[in-house]
């Protein structure tokens, strides 16, 4: 990837919440899908000059990745804090070998 995006990284509950403000358009879809309501609006402005999201509003993050899954702009990446690597599949689908090229 020749383009780099700067994350805002927040550790919360079981997750490390990486939010890429240059990608987040502030649609709020993730907020609605978070089962623990941890996501809410931040002060930081995003891609379209509207507020981005951040964790820490409701209960602690359980690293279910629902927000990551539904974000249409790939603006969220949830890492588990349990030390598992950073390569979780986006949509939790099994990785196929063809992907390794």
């Amino acid at each position: 990837m020749s383009v780099a995006f700067k994350p805002i990284t927040t550790e919360n509950g079981k997750g490390i919440f990486h939010l890429f403000p240059a990608l987040c358009k502030g649609c709020g879809l993730c907020i609605e899908k978070c089962p623990v309501d941890t996501i809410g609006w931040a002060r930081q402005l995003g891609a379209f000059g509207t507020p981005v999201v951040e964790p820490g509003h409701g209960k602690p993050c359980i690293a279910c990745k629902k927000c990551q899954l539904v974000c249409p702009d790939a603006a969220i990446w949830i890492e588990r804090r349990n030390g598992q690597g950073r390569t979780d599949a986006l949509t939790a689908a099994p990785q196929a070998p063809g992907n390794e090229k």
Binding site: K6, C27, G28, P72, W77, L90, A96
Partner: protein, 264 residues
């Protein structure tokens, strides 16, 4: 310089063109994530041709690191069928909205289905003509207000929402793959799309996947209303699931008839 965390985009996404051009909360981004994952999973980036229709799908013309053709309203499937017939080794994806698929391009859908063309068609069903500003689409729900049904869609005058997968399933020959997914279930949607690509790669027949999708801009919904409309209203009318899989027994009426007939 340490590499910071980077967005987990499908590999085939083109980072240079992100953020993409769709509106905040637009389902197109989710469908294209599912498609990207499926292409990644199958390792077919080098031989996949992506064609996008005119409609909001046109905004994906530089979305992927895939050879891409921004075609003409309703004509994406013929363009890609033309490519596939000329170069069968390629994998062709025809990406469009419900207007392009079920209204202006319906003859192509019907014909590709009955010809069992080796093409994977993905239709983004958002119940409106989005690019043109929210007119009634073939999929607009009864009572739904749009720019051309300002008092709500009147089924007596304008009929019922088009059932695309049901239509294709009714006429596609054995070997076809037909499913309806939703951006509310990305994993399932990705699986459907992946099966649809496999169906083409294995030469079994047409693959048709409709994705229920969101258009907060023309629906004029906030995030909560967006999900509600998608998951409650739309899903109630458009059942999600697989309608045809290539393994099934062909229906009686689709059986092979012995190869004779009147002499030429």
């Amino acid at each position: 310089m340490a590499i910071a965390a980077q967005p987990q985009m499908p590999r085939v996404w083109r980072a240079e063109s992100k953020p993409h051009k769709f509106c905040p909360g637009c389902g197109h981004g989710i469908v294209l994530k599912a498609l990207g994952e499926a292409v990644d999973a199958l390792g077919i980036q080098e031989r996949t041709i992506f064609g996008c229709d005119i409609g909001c799908s046109l905004l994906s013309w530089d979305f992927f690191n895939l050879d891409t053709i921004q075609t003409h309203h309703g004509r994406t499937t013929p363009v890609l069928v033309g490519i596939k017939r000329a170069r069968p080794e390629l994998v062709v994806v025809s990406y469009m909205g419900d207007g392009g698929a079920y209204a202006i391009g319906a003859q192509h859908l019907v014909s590709s289905a009955s010809r069992n063309d080796l093409v994977t068609i993905i239709v983004v069903n958002n119940t409106v003509y989005a690019m043109t500003g929210g007119q009634m689409a073939p999929t607009t729900l009864p009572g739904q207000k749009t720019e051309t049904t300002p008092y709500g869609r009147d089924v007596e005058l304008t009929g019922r929402p088009m059932l695309g997968p049901e239509l294709v399933a009714a006429i596609a020959p054995p070997g076809a793959y037909v499913a309806r997914g939703s951006v509310a279930n990305v994993v399932q949607l990705k699986n459907y799309i992946q099966k649809g690509l496999e169906n083409q790669i294995q030469g079994r027949g047409i693959a048709f996947i409709e994705a229920l999708s969101s258009c907060p801009t023309n629906w004029r919904t906030n995030a909560a209303e967006t999900w509600r409309f998608l998951e409650k209203e739309m899903s109630a009318y458009f059942p999600v699931g697989e309608l045809r899989t290539p393994e099934e027994k062909p229906a009686a009426r689709l059986r092979e008839v012995p190869a004779h007939g009147p002499k030429p």
